[in-house]
């Protein structure tokens, strides 16, 4: 037997008792019919698949989260790479600078984006001063673009941090060795740097994609009349109507989607290796 098992037991114990057990309670609810004296049923799950809107909203949310993840990756990888390889001094300060904005409420930040993105807002004023846009309105506010901008803003720092953490440990000697073997910079990157930073990319993608699926504040404040996502549906079941059972069922369908995509991701990671 593993004699260091005590190292992991506190965390696992905590998660089993305070996450898995509560989830069993919710699984139970998701199979319960509405009303008093509910009985076992799969109606809540059936409802989800029988009505177009729920599938439609789920697909919309998955797509949105996917865009947010890809854009975050495109911003974060170069950022982490530059921090590690070009900006040697002060990279810890930079790391702090990336985390500090999180000290502000997500909701308050969404309103800030409203001030920036709306027609006649700060972005429009600045862009016009720079003669980058004409005199027409910016037209960004209350679009899915506005939602994605605000969501990338919230989530990409996680990705920078995880990628930075793995890149920083990429052995300089390996890179040098590769160079001395006359491998071009691109080959070195593809064959040495990228594979070694993969754990950071995977961790980062999880930290961006998964929470994106449950978001509902940014779509509502910035998304206009199309600001409904699957997270809104779950919130409604508790705050607007008494629909816990259905809300729990939707959550578990989401969970299944997430676990499925993580399985795909890890298979993909293995094949590459």
């Amino acid at each position: 037997m593993d004699r260091k098992i005590w190292l992991m037991s506190p965390a696992v114990f905590l998660l089993l008792i305070f996450c898995v057990v509560p989830l069993f309670i919710m699984v139970y609810y998701s199979f319960l019919s509405d009303g008093t004296g509910g009985h076992w049923t799969i109606q809540n799950y059936m409802d989800f698949f029988q009505k177009d809107i729920y599938l439609k909203l789920t697909w919309k949310t998955v797509k949105m989260s996917f865009y947010v993840t890809v854009i975050s990756l495109l911003i974060s990888y170069p950022m982490a790479y530059v921090m590690v390889s070009i900006i040697q001094g002060g990279k810890n300060i930079l790391l702090m600078a990336i985390i500090v904005p999180f000290w502000t409420s997500q909701l308050v930040r969404a309103y800030s984006w409203q001030n920036l993105l709306r027609d006649g807002g700060l972005l429009e004023i600045v862009l016009r001063k720079l003669h980058l846009i004409g005199s027409g309105p910016l037209g960004l506010m209350f679009t899915s673009t506005a939602v994605i901008i605000a969501m990338v803003h919230i989530f990409f720092p996680y990705m920078v941090i995880t990628i930075y953490m793995s890149l920083e440990k990429v052995d300089g000697a390996l890179v040098e060795a590769s160079k001395s073997l006359k491998a071009g910079p691109l080959t070195t990157f593809r064959r040495i740097v990228l594979p070694l930073s993969k754990p950071g990319i995977i961790s980062g993608c999880i930290l961006v994609f998964v929470p994106s699926l449950g978001v509902f504040v940014e779509p509502r404040v910035l998304g206009g009349t199309q600001g409904t996502v699957i997270g809104t549906v779950i919130e409604d079941q508790f705050f607007e109507i008494y629909g816990w059972n259905f809300g729990a069922a939707v959550s578990f369908i989401l969970l299944a989607i997430i676990l499925l995509s993580m399985a795909v991701l890890s298979r993909f990671a293995k094949e590459e290796a």
């Binding site: 989830l23 921090m83 000290w103 440990k169 930073s197 449950g214 959550s251 989401l254």
Partner: protein
């Protein structure tokens, strides 16, 4: 030189994107309008009101305490878990990988609701212990994933080399592994801190009557609107953190360097 120039330009652009809404948020704390309306009109009104708003100040401090506790517990638990994961080839490992990200995959509302049901089924009062546990559960994945990203890229041969040189296991962990992990532990702790600091729903369900946190104050106000006092609080906290970081960085420069080398 050119490379450096491009690098800094890129970093500056990303930081501009990151800080633009933060600067707007701070500016609005000095704007007279209750509704963030322009044109901008300088006023200290919201700072004056904040100074007299004991409830909001108390709530903000409570949030800081809870977040700090959460961060410390998360880093300890996550580091222990990852030290185990890196040296084992147990079949449990794959299950535990999924278990750790589980709190991330469940909407906080559902997790909070089920914790509330558990607490009320056990017939006990809402209290800070359960609240703290709830925060640890949701913040733990962040700490774990950051530390994991570091540990998996770390050269394990160092450990083996150290072991073959006769250093006993604990010396290896203490002298080599932990210092190498330190930046990730720090970053993971900060992330756990901010996740807890901005969490509304778990606190809302589990907090004892009469207490409050900053997110509770904010989200409870949305029915009729919160005032820029919230922006003022955020501005104060951002400034204080920045000063604190600069201070620590200056004082501990030498020892930090030792750790981060």
């Amino acid at each position: 030189m050119l490379k450096k120039g491009i690098g800094w330009t890129y970093v500056s652009l990303v930081l501009l994107f990151l800080y633009a809404p933060i600067l707007v948020l701070m500016a609005m704390s000095f704007n007279a309008s209750k509704y963030n309306a322009l044109p901008f009109e300088f006023s200290m009104r919201w700072y004056r009101e904040l100074a007299g708003n004991d409830k909001l100040i108390d709530a903000s401090l409570t949030s800081v305490y809870i977040a700090a506790g959460t961060a410390v517990i998360c880093v300890v638990l996550a580091t222990m878990l990852m030290l185990w994961a890196v040296q084992t080839n147990s079949k449990l490992k794959r299950w535990i990988d999924s278990l750790v990200v589980l709190p991330l995959t469940i909407p906080w509302l559902i997790l909070g609701l089920s914790l509330l049901l558990l607490v009320s089924a056990a017939g006990i009062d809402k209290n800070f212990t359960v609240l703290l546990i709830g925060h640890v559960v949701i913040s733990l994945p962040y700490a774990v994933l950051v530390i994991k990203a570091r540990l998996q890229s770390m050269d394990l041969t160092i450990n083996e080399a150290s072991a073959s040189l006769g250093a006993n296991e604990w010396t290896t962990v203490w002298r080599i592994t932990l210092p190498l992990l330190f930046p990730a532990m720090l970053a993971g702790g900060f992330l756990a801190f901010v996740i807890s600091f901005d969490n509304f729903i778990l606190s809302y369900f589990l907090i004892p009557g009469g207490s409050s946190t900053l997110p509770i104050e904010i989200y409870s106000s949305i029915k009729f609107g919160f005032t820029p006092e919230i922006n003022a609080v955020s501005t104060v906290m951002l400034t204080a953190t920045t000063l604190l970081i600069v201070l620590i960085a200056t004082i501990m420069r030498s020892s930090l360097k030792f750790f981060l080398k």
